[in-house]
Subunit: 274 residues, 2 copies
């Protein structure tokens, strides 16, 4: 959904936008409005299409599942890039994205971030809906922030669930929504319920993360999944997390009784000035 | 199953053993051979039973799910202990166990570890079955060790799954078996399969973990779950991890083609002499 939001933001600001969808990866709704659809391994063709369309700035938006490199079909340019991509892929998602970004820059494109063209998608500081975090929720948020910081050097997940001081789940390769679904499998003694909400989802950029490439994002489905997991709320980094459909997020949060709060940079980034 | 293994080890070494099972928590097979079964909140009664049986040393063995403190039925002694237990529970499992251990010591019992009475259950150094780790597996093990070390101060899980450099899962409140089951849900491009095994489960004691209380353990079902997740092997700390039924572990590993390896202390503990 992020590509659609970015495309709409470009339209609103009068910026011309060429939307290139990746075959089998982009949502059907995104492919339907795309100017072109290319297979993941067709790097050469992608570069040609972008040049023919007169693109100068490129934004990478949306999720791509890690491909199975053994079965991926590649064009010549894709094949030349493969060794670098495979090496990077072993380090983590962020390393992988950096290689793709560097290739685009070598070809003369300017890599810009979602932040640069769709700033209105960024989470503001403070609470978003009717609910706010309690002192216990704030303590859980702080613990989550500390752990995500400790994991920063490893290019792992961006999200964690902490409930009354106990870490219920840490995001890894499966992503945030899958992590929230796993929380539902835990015994109710460990977690909250719709009747007695407990625990917080904390979602932040990775330490040293290339902000132009992969900002943490939440949408109404994140709120719904957090609500299903019995959580009391969600905390994201203000100014860095993307809110995909803010009105729908607030509506979901208020309907389910969850809080959604944007943390100031000094509340989550190590060494940031308060 | 650990209590049964400990009880058998005591019998083999001619040490008298009084087996106290916790109602609704211990396996039926353990309760069946227990000398007494008590509810979790009956702390006073537990202390009386241990004293009447002439116990001097106490071993805590096996898993107890975190109780729902709001519905737990307590005797007088349990009620007096509750505030301390609840505070500790917010810090993590290890903190919780320390409080229980301290209570037993206050009552004059000596807290001993499984290691002290059943050393034959400890994992040896080196490979256990027919298979051994490759260079890529060793790199995955090293990455897993580094991340578990970084998580050490937080009293979280003891286990992680790393596959070709990518972190597939980090253990939190759900335990190792649940984490392995979650790996199966990941796309096959990210993980191994029975036909092409990739990735390693690394299981270690938490940094600063009270070794008398909660040693990491694996059994044949751990091997089966790791095999289901397409993993290539399992690495545990030699001399600290418990092997619950070593012959069955080796049989499972050899049948499924997994390696099981015990890491020397300098391979996993920060600051340990090589």
């Amino acid at each position: 959904m992020l590509p659609r939001h970015v495309s709409e933001a470009c339209q609103r600001s009068g910026r011309a936008c060429f939307l290139l969808a990746i075959e089998g990866e982009a949502d059907a709704a995104v492919s339907a409005i795309a100017d072109a659809v290319v297979p993941l391994g067709a790097i050469g063709r992608t570069l040609v299409l972008l040049k023919e369309a007169g693109c100068k700035d490129v934004i990478l938006a949306g999720q791509v599942r890690r491909p199975d490199f053994r079965t991926l079909s590649l064009d010549l340019r894709g094949a030349r890039l493969l060794p670098k991509v495979m090496t990077a892929a072993r380090k983590g998602d962020d390393a992988l994205l950096r290689v793709l970004g560097a290739t685009l820059e070598t070809e003369g494109f300017r890599l810009v971030g979602v932040r640069d063209v769709a700033g209105e998608l960024l989470a503001p500081h403070g609470r978003l809906g009717a609910q706010g975090p309690s002192a216990q929720h704030r303590a859980d948020i702080e613990k989550g922030v500390s752990i995500l910081r400790a994991l920063g050097p490893f290019d792992i997940g961006q999200a964690i669930v902490v409930c009354d001081g106990l870490v219920l789940a840490i995001e890894a390769a499966g992503g945030t929504d899958l992590m929230l679904k796993h929380c539902v499998e835990l015994p109710e003694a460990l977690r909250g319920t719709a009747a007695a909400r407990r625990g917080v989802l904390v979602k932040l950029p990775k330490q040293g993360q290339e902000m132009r490439l992969d900002l943490p994002a939440i949408g109404p489905e994140t709120v719904e999944n957090a609500a299903q997991a019995g959580l009391a709320g969600i905390a994201v980094g203000a100014g860095v997390a993307l809110l995909l459909d803010r009105p729908a997020i607030v509506e979901s949060a208020d309907r389910t009784g969850l809080f959604v709060v944007g943390l100031k940079e000094d509340e989550w980034r190590e060494g940031a000035a308060p």
